[in-house]
Amino acid sequence: VQPQPDAKMCDQTFLAITFGPCDNCSQNKPLMNIYLKNEPINYCSLCVEMMACQGLAKGETIHTLKAESESLKSKLEEERAKLHDVELHQVAEKMEALGQFVMKTRRTLKGHGNKVLCMDWCRDKRRIVSSSQDGKVIVWDAYTTNKEHAVTMPCTWVMACAYAPSGCAVACGSDEEKSIQYVVLLYVFVILTSSGDGTCALWDVESGQLLQSFHGHSADVLSLDLAPSETGNTFVSGGCDKKANVWDMRSGQNVQSFETHESDINSVKYYPSGDAFASGSDDATCRLYDLRADREVAIYSKESIIFGASSVDFSLSGRLLFAGHNDYTINVWDVLKGTRVAILFGHENRVSTVRVSPDGTAFCSGSWDNTLRMKVKGLAVVIGVLHHPVVSAPRAAGELRNIGHSFPVIYS
């Protein structure tokens, strides 16, 4: 999608998709340019993968393969269960409990004409970019609440936005063609996206070339997060198939998969050390999955919490998990003990996105009430309240985060 800049916001506008009918299956999809018997062809990434799987092995039928699948699944469960010697919250009992938690809204950013769907912090810890159903992407100075830039997109639901690491560019994704629901900026020239078609894709933005595709979800992929740079080139995705998958960015391989949620996963976020990730789901729970134990190690839920969690984020040390919900509240959890330490009120509609600032001093929440609110721990004063008519609409999806590490471009 090509944004029309209202003000000088970035040096270049990027067309991010090479799209068209696949030479094999004829579906309109992102295409890879490959050579087959010295002839250049354009295959979608799924057909490229299928090609690699052709040819029957001796004695192989669909039945033997299914039986093998089932036995592998049981073996996987067995292996995981062997290491389940204790619960995280039991180990955490010896930790000091957190004190009383008070957070106050410090700033309310008003200016969007419709639901706020996504936001991201700039690395300067001061600027915020937000996108909305009103088709606008706005850059704010969070300290002064001034709007620095506004870009009008040629579409309405701007599901996702992210700041480039340089702070000089912003990427946006729209739901219009059901093409991009979620965008993460790796480096200003490479973008990772997730889509309503169930795939994730890595793009070289300058050329529009598809670098790698990731297949494994059987429904819309609603959220992605990149592993912190120290822990390597992996990312986690969560989707409407209730699965959270961990991927190797270079090979496209799905290395781990978790399926314990009972409904769509709306948000996934890495624990700051990179050894775990949290998820928020329509099943009203958040969960913590440890990557080295290869299992779910905590579930954050209460009988009184019945509305889905749309967005999650960790505080800097990973001790706190913030979860925005569809009942307009934000729950704050002690990640290790599994207890809720606070409920934050203030929004007048669904919370669609929560994001802790890069230095961890504040967090910002965006909502279908058209506002963004920023909270800092201390004494609270609600600065302003915005009244807008609530229009019922499909669930907001998509989240963006920008990470600073550069990524070597790999052409497959």
């Binding site: 299928m50 799987c53 393969l65 292996e79 781990q256 440890d290 800092v376």
Partner: protein, 72 residues
């Protein structure tokens, strides 16, 4: 999609599933007790740098409203 294509697609999907499960089954895992201890240690080491956990003094809070001064 012809039934022949669908048939071969089912087979390919089944093979992909088996390959995928083999990859997932082969990874090395650690005990939950060890994983939990590591998560706790990370929190412990970084707690003092976490402003949302510790709170920050008003003088350092960039979001705190500046009160107007009254000259007496």
């Amino acid at each position: 999609m012809s039934s022949k294509m669908a048939g071969s697609n089912n087979l390919t999907h089944a093979r992909r599933m088996v390959q995928q499960l083999k990859v997932e089954a082969s990874i090395e895992r650690i005990k939950v007790s060890k994983a939990s201890a590591d998560l706790m240690r990370y929190c412990g080491e970084n707690a003092k740098y976490d402003p949302l956990l510790m709170g920050i003094p008003a003088s350092e809070n960039p979001f705190k409203d500046k009160k107007p001064c009254t000259i007496l």
